[in-house]
Assembly symmetry: C2
Homo-oligomer: 157 residues x 2
Amino acid sequence: ARPKVGYFYVGQEVAPLLADHLYQATVDQLMIPPLLIQQATTIDEAVTQLFMHDVGSLYVVDQQQKLLGVLSRKDLLRATINATNTSTTPVAMIMTRMPNIVTMTEHKTILQAGQRLIAHQVDSLPIVEPDGVTVIGKITKSIIMRYFIEEGLHIQN
Amino acid sequence: ARPKVGYFYVGQEVAPLLADHLYQATVDQLMIPPLLIQQATTIDEAVTQLFMHDVGSLYVVDQQQKLLGVLSRKDLLRATINATNTSTTPVAMIMTRMPNIVTMTEHKTILQAGQRLIAHQVDSLPIVEPDGVTVIGKITKSIIMRYFIEEGLHIQN
């Protein structure tokens, strides 16, 4: 018969192996392609994109895919409730702009990404090249939660 | 000297001890007080509440605190972009109603709550009494993510 194997607990502390397994996954393993729009896009068009793709945030980039801004559901809700003329106002008027955007690079760990999401109270982080501005991906609270839950199901089964 | 103790890995599988520690936390240990509103509340008032308390969703209850509906940022954004008259329209017109609301009870595990959030693609779960309708708390994707990240920091330090 196949031998039963696993971790054996021998003391009061948890050794790094557990942390390695769950928390050392890196951003590039979990990041998803971001939804990118131009800064001339109207608020109405941005909201339509948000619903069409069922995402929580949009990234605004220039022609070289360099990050100019971030738009969250909250930013869009603030604009629409304030009776901004949403059919003509460009997102450039309401987006959060660089350098006020919190970003991350792809070789950081999930633990570091989660800490940053919590510290800055944001729902997503644009993942950028080492140049700090070229967008290559996106990490969200949802992705990180789903990762831990799926790992948990895997462990239990 | 204090002996070095911990888990020793002796094979290919992960035993239940890890799962117990991280994944067996229960909903009542992590749930937060929900923001409750009445169904006559206008959309404008609901959006104000959302921003004032910086939350992602509101629960609509009757006088007995029984759940009638849920309002997400997405529901409110859909209503405001559609040029609904948000200063007079009550949230009852746009909320997701029982029995179409996914709820949970307080003795379920975080793993079960996370699975339910993923399966139903919602950002939060109202936590209800065993009667299925009396609201006593709220669990969100953010809370679950923060839990796993904080546990990870704890393990590493």
